[in-house]
């Protein structure tokens, strides 16, 4: 069970990048630029992004679609879980066309069981990974789970949520029993239904963000018998760049252990952590034995922390 981990990563960004000045926003572009945002990647359809990310992850894991045992498809928005019928009836049947099933068919995951992960906001991929890892641990006959997260805001939607500029993107991760690049070292999640009404409680959510984020990270480290200084690298998300140094200080993790992204893509709902993990790997920042901390907050509200260990072995 200790060998279960992330074997392959894949991401996909749209082709269209729109600078801040041309985006529908609530705050001024200058203000959002101060938070580290340059603009947003905008797509029309999450499906093509999901397919691209999934194929990249399968290639990275060097497994065939037919080897995937389970597909978890995560989406924060309700429309991410629906696919338009090719022969719509105009009736209730149209609502049963699921994007996860379409994705299975499109990718040729013929042996995979399919499951959707919803209502986790930006923490959807974390929940998918947790479910995948739990399933592999519980059912020895399963070897590979593919987790795919894709979200695209509706056309013309405001691109700013709580001082974050939202990009469209997709990510995919193959969670496998063997040959993981990043071994699963621990996970902790705190969900607070008190904050379910996001518009009504947005100020309280902002206030709850830091203390709860610290709690979830410190509890994860405590469970794994680790101290804050045992974390070698924190892989951030694309949310407000000023928030990460604060969180690092709250947790007592040295600030220089925060991964500094080389490119800016805004906040992509589900894909940030994996875009940056992929980037960190490609840039040679990761070394065997390093402990990586990933953290995400999702409306709902859920705070998730994931601890990974960079494996010695490479994928065959």
């Amino acid at each position: 069970m200790k060998r279960i981990g992330l074997r392959g990563l894949g991401t996909a960004l749209p082709e269209q990048f729109t600078p801040l000045a041309e985006l529908p926003l609530l705050s001024s572009p200058d203000r959002l630029a101060a938070f580290g945002f340059g603009g947003a990647w905008i797509a029309e359809d999450p499906a093509s992004l999901a397919v691209r990310a999934a194929r990249n992850a399968l290639a990275d894991a060097r497994i065939a679609p037919s080897e995937v045992d389970v597909l978890f498809a995560a989406g924060a928005l309700p429309q991410a879980h629906q696919r338009a019928s090719e022969q719509p009836t105009g009736g209730v049947l149209d609502a049963f066309c699921y994007s996860a099933s379409w994705l299975q068919e499109e990718l040729g995951l013929d042996r995979a069981a399919v499951c959707g992960i919803a209502q986790q906001g930006c923490a959807g991929m974390f929940s998918a990974l947790r479910a995948a890892r739990g399933l592999l641990a519980a059912e020895p006959e399963l070897n590979h789970a593919l987790c795919v997260g894709a979200d695209v805001l509706p056309p013309g939607a405001c691109r700013e949520i709580l001082y974050n500029v939202i990009s469209d993107a997709a990510c995919a991760v193959v969670v496998s029993r063997e040959k993981a690049r990043h071994r699963w070292a621990g996970f902790h999640q705190i969900s607070k239904g008190y904050y379910w009404d996001v518009p009504a409680k947005q100020s309280e959510i902002i206030a709850a963000y830091f203390p709860t984020a610290r709690s979830v990270i410190m509890e994860l480290l405590r469970r794994e018998n680790l101290s804050a200084t045992d974390v070698d690298l924190v892989v951030p998300t694309g949310v407000n760049a000023t928030s990460w140094p604060i969180l690092m200080r709250l947790c007592g993790i040295p600030e220089e252990r925060l991964y500094r992204p080389r490119r800016s893509f805004g906040h992509t709902i589900a894909a940030d952590s994996f875009l940056l993990l992929e980037e960190a790997r490609a840039s040679g920042c990761l070394a065997p034995g390093m402990r990586l901390l990933l953290f995400a907050y999702g409306f709902g509200s859920s705070w998730c922390a994931l601890l990974l260990e960079v494996a010695e072995e490479e994928v065959a």
Partner: protein, 345 residues
């Protein structure tokens, strides 16, 4: 003894007047119509810029309790009341032929960023001040001590409210901070878990002042009306309040609202900077209120208490519970309470 009391309508004025009985008290008030009535207290219309000369022949003691306590005001504004006002009152006192005592009500905040055990002594060198209010009160102390009058100073700790019923006549910086805390809008507090929050009740403050007046005159003496070593540490107080709030607020009860993290100055500054960059109006208000009160918690100190040791001190938990109850019940003094409010009547 005939006493002139300023600040009668403030947070502790009425209780001081009550404690001064059976002395004759002239209470200086701006608005006779709306001032509380109390046996033995004669209301005198006036203010620090227009003092009632007609009572100068009678006054034997002055207790100067009036002050501008809005921490967010500029130093110039605060000086007008807290320094120029004191200067005017000292001039007035010099013309009181029977004057035997002048007691300046000050604040432990004059210690600014000083830490550790803090004696009941003058502060000849200005410390670094957390806010302009502290500076204005320190400047007032200097004036009083240099006045060549039989002047003494009583420095009050943080007056939380009545230990009898929790009522607060005028919610101040502490109560604003409690409001944001209760609403789950304070994510972090600058300080250390060991910082003491020196809370006292209205009654305790007034009793120490009355005791100072009753004791033999000691010109230049400084007394702390402080809970000293009996005051709670910041971590203890936050834990207690979290437990208390959980009985009244669903978010606290479920654990959704967390006790704020106690953070160092740098972390809090980063948070404030982030709030300012965002332009979030609500959080700006929270930070503004926090800025006026919370930074003093970065300087852990314990006030010496000589005279105050002889005065019964309510347990801080009882005081905190009663004040928090009253604030919640009255929605921070916005609606009437169902229990009799502490008042002069």
């Amino acid at each position: 003894m005939t006493i002139l009391l300023t600040g009668f309508t403030g947070n502790v004025g009425v209780e001081i007047a009550r404690q001064l009985a059976p002395n004759r008290v002239f209470a200086l008030v701006r608005d006779l119509k709306h001032a509380p009535r109390l046996d033995g207290v004669t209301l005198v219309k006036g203010n620090l810029e227009c003092l009632p000369a007609f009572i100068q022949g009678d006054v034997e003691a002055i207790i100067h309790c009036a002050a501008a306590v809005e921490f967010k005001r500029s130093l110039e504004e605060l000086r007008r009341t807290n320094v120029d006002g004191v200067a005017a009152l000292l001039d007035f006192a010099r013309s009181c032929p029977r004057l035997r005592r002048f007691i300046q009500v000050s604040t432990i905040c004059v210690c600014g960023d000083r830490t550790g055990p803090t004696p009941e002594a003058p502060l000849p060198e200005a410390p670094h001040f957390v806010n302009p209010y502290e500076q204005s009160k320190w400047e007032a102390e200097r004036l009083v001590l240099a006045a060549e009058l039989p002047a003494e100073i009583v420095r009050l700790a943080i007056v939380a409210g009545s230990e009898r019923d929790g009522s607060v006549r005028r919610p101040g910086a502490l109560h604003h901070a409690l409001y944001w805390l209760y609403k789950g809008l304070i994510p972090m507090i600058p300080g250390t878990a060991e910082s003491r929050v020196d809370l006292i009740s209205t009654e305790f403050a007034a009793t120490v002042l009355a005791a100072a007046l009753r004791s033999a005159p000691e010109p230049g003496r400084i007394v702390h009306a402080s809970a000293g070593t009996e005051s709670p540490k910041l971590g203890e107080l936050l834990d207690f309040l979290a437990g208390f709030f959980s009985q009244h607020h669903r978010g606290w009860a479920s654990g959704a609202v967390s006790r704020p993290d106690i953070v160092d100055r740098e972390t809090f500054t980063l948070f404030e900077k982030s709030v300012m960059q965002s332009g979030d109006l609500l959080f700006r208000r929270v930070c503004d209120d926090a800025q006026s009160f919370l930074p003093m918690l970065l300087y852990p100190r314990t006030m010496a208490t000589s005279l105050a040791k002889s005065v019964p001190l309510a347990d801080w938990r009882t005081l905190a519970r009663r004040v928090a109850s009253w604030l919640i019940e009255t929605d921070w003094n916005r609606k009437p309470t169902t229990t009799p409010a502490y008042d002069a009547a």
